[in-house]
């Protein structure tokens, strides 16, 4: 590999070979002259930390894929089923379905995404950027299990090209690429992205047949005002033994991943905390509306509005979105005060969309994309606010007599 890299140095394909090299080895170049940045966490290490936080979720999701499949078959046959971690969850049968369904999603996501990255790196003649490492891992975790692979491939091409490369590549994108991919899939192929058939392996193929199975998400039940028919307990929701997109179900593992990211200072705790607060506030408002009797049981919003406000956090993709999507340092707000506002509205709008969008009762990805768009505006006003405050302080400051007017001007220029 070292020789290949040297052989192609300066040639057109050099970025591609450099990428493989840096993927497999530590770069064999050292900086000449003085170095100024002495931290160990470069982009590669940042990305790998996020991936480490995602690996437990991926493994859990592979077991859950199988568990939901066999649970749905039992439910269709009327067989009662109790969850037992070692007897019917962590089994080879379950894991095997994870291998044949989740791994291909992962492979396609990485393969297609990195191919696009390589092509752009070669055309533009820059080094391949590590940005796709995390996106490629996130994508399979936020799609339904039976998503056809070619759809995923089309969406990945769209997301990486339109969501990222047209803006100039990693670090320049306005929208989170993983969510762009998810949104594209949602608008392009809605029949594969919603309903009660897409969340369980083979449910689409078996639909209408004698052995038809289905697995409605909790949000789906609530949106149809069928919350009472639902057989999932709060601990099922928290630990993630529920149907949903591949990796979004286990709040426990997401929480652990989130704490790990906060501990390593990769992700912003401000955004996570404020998003949680935002969703709780919106949930509380809806609960209050129900308590006041303004919304009756006949209303189509009743199911979701009367849902306990704190339970919103442990179902659907809200937790996953808050921890891994909202905290994307590129597309999120940059200023500390901006992060509070940005996170709050993500939580607030997510729950609002859940309640008011009966066609598709999950709004996390839409809420985060919307706030991605507003993040620069929020930052702008935060920075302007700081400037205004400091200008005011400067005006009120007593300028010492020996300072000439010129000095004050200079000070003003510096402050701005």
């Amino acid at each position: 590999m070292h020789e290949l890299k040297l052989k192609y140095q300066g040639k057109k394909m050099a970025p591609a070979f450099n990428a493989f090299h840096t993927f497999l080895f530590t770069p064999n170049e050292t900086t000449h002259g003085g170095t100024h940045v002495k931290a160990a966490d470069d982009l590669k290490r940042t990305m790998n930390t996020v991936i480490m936080a995602l690996v437990p979720i991926l493994i859990f999701s592979m077991f859950n894929a199988g568990y939901q499949y066999y649970a749905a078959i039992d439910a269709a046959n009327g067989t009662p089923r109790t969850l037992s971690l070692f007897e019917n969850f962590l089994t080879w049968d379950n894991f095997w379905i994870g291998i044949i369904k989740v791994l291909p999603l992962l492979v396609v996501s990485y393969g297609v995404g990195l191919l696009v990255e390589f092509i752009f790196a070669v055309i533009k003649g820059h080094e391949v950027e590590e940005g796709y490492l995390v996106t490629g891992m996130l994508v399979p975790l936020i799609v339904p299990i039976d998503t056809p692979l070619w759809m995923l491939a089309v969406a990945v091409v769209f997301g990486v090209v339109i969501g990222k490369e047209v803006f100039g590549g990693t670090g320049m994108n306005i929208l989170n690429p993983a969510l762009t991919i998810r949104a594209f899939l949602f608008f392009a192929y809605p029949t594969w992205m919603s309903g009660d058939k897409v969340w369980v392996y083979q449910a689409v193929e078996k639909a209408g047949g004698p052995d038809a199975i289905s697995g409605e998400t909790i949000l789906g039940f609530l949106a149809q005002n069928k919350g009472s028919e639902m057989a999932y307990s709060v601990s099922d929701m928290f630990f993630g033994f529920i149907p949903g997109s591949v990796g979004e179900t286990s709040t426990l593992l997401i929480l652990l991943g989130g704490l790990f990211l906060i501990y390593t200072k990769i992700a912003s705790w401000r955004i996570m905390l404020s998003a949680v607060i935002g969703s709780l506030v919106m949930g509380l408002i809806f609960n209050q509306v129900v308590d006041m009797g303004w919304v009756t049981e006949t209303s189509k919003f009743y199911g979701l509005m009367s849902f306990d406000f704190w339970k919103h956090l442990i179902i659907g993709g809200l937790a996953f979105g808050i921890v891994f999507m909202a905290t994307d340092p590129v597309t999120g707000a940059q200023t500390n005060r901006g992060k509070w506002i940005y996170g709050f509205f993500i939580g607030f709008i997510s729950v609002m969309i859940r309640v008011f969008n009966p066609a598709y009762p999950e709004g996390v990805f839409l809420a985060i994309l919307l706030m991605n768009v507003f993040a620069p505006t929020i930052d702008h006003y935060v920075v302007q606010g700081n400037i205004k405050r400091r200008m005011k302080r400067l005006k009120n400051a007593v300028i010492l007599p020996k300072d000439s007017d010129g000095k004050a001007e200079e000070l003003k220029a510096e402050t701005v």
């Binding site: 070619w150 339109i162 608008f187 392009a188 192929y189 594969w192």
Partner: protein, 215 residues
């Protein structure tokens, strides 16, 4: 003896590529987004705009010396409105179904920026023949983009071209659909047109770097 002098030929060919009303002048985007979900609608829209723009350019050009400049916008509006009503009535009489698809957008040709733009920029300062050619050229440039966008949106979004299924039957699962292909619902909604137009602009500018603005 060529029918058109070189300068006149440029009036027609320039707007097709390097001075395209949609991709370079960025005019008339609204209708390009709204009606390009079907190729047929795109084509009819292109022809309608061609008629209105070419005729309007000639009329304005003939009247250019007698229009008081203070009220020229109003005069231009009356000319466009007259022509648009003619188009609308013709469509209603001979292609009723299609006129329902295009609905309000034929009426909105009045507000199509290309038309007012060309009246102001060209017809007020040039003779009728050259204005006519300019109108034809610009509306062809407009139509070209509309047809390209309409082609991709209808093919990928509905699997048809001019309403004729070309990829097989999505319900009977024939052709491409038998191997799992599905229509892309995203292409039906207007934001897809924005992205397709964006890609056309991208391709055009990377082929001709002279078009890229300095900033």
């Amino acid at each position: 003896m060529a029918l058109l002098s070189k300068k006149d030929t440029n009036l027609i060919t320039d707007p097709l590529a390097d001075n395209n009303p949609i991709t370079i002048q960025v005019l008339g985007i609204c209708s390009a987004l709204a009606i390009t979900a079907e190729l047929k609608a795109s084509l009819v829209m292109a022809v309608s705009v061609m008629f209105v723009l070419a005729m309007g350019n000639v009329v304005i050009s003939l009247m250019r010396n007698i229009i008081p400049s203070k009220i020229r916008i109003i005069v231009q509006l009356i000319v466009v409105a007259t022509l648009v009503i003619i188009v609308d009535q013709v469509l209603k009489a001979f292609a009723y179904e299609l006129s329902k698809t295009l609905a309000v957008f034929v009426g909105l040709i009045i507000t199509n920026c290309i038309i007012m733009g060309r009246f102001e920029a060209f017809a007020l300062g040039n003779g009728p023949w050259r204005s006519f050619l300019d109108g034809i050229g610009n509306s062809m440039g407009y139509g070209l983009i509309l047809v390209i966008v309409g082609f991709f949106r209808e093919l990928l979004g509905s699997g048809t071209l001019f309403g004729i299924p070309v990829l097989g039957d999505p319900i009977e699962k024939t052709g491409l659909y038998s191997i799992g292909y599905e229509n892309n619902g995203f292409m039906i909604i207007p934001p897809a047109a924005l992205i397709v137009v964006g890609i056309i602009i991208w391709v055009q500018r990377s082929r001709n770097p002279a078009l890229v603005e300095e900033n």
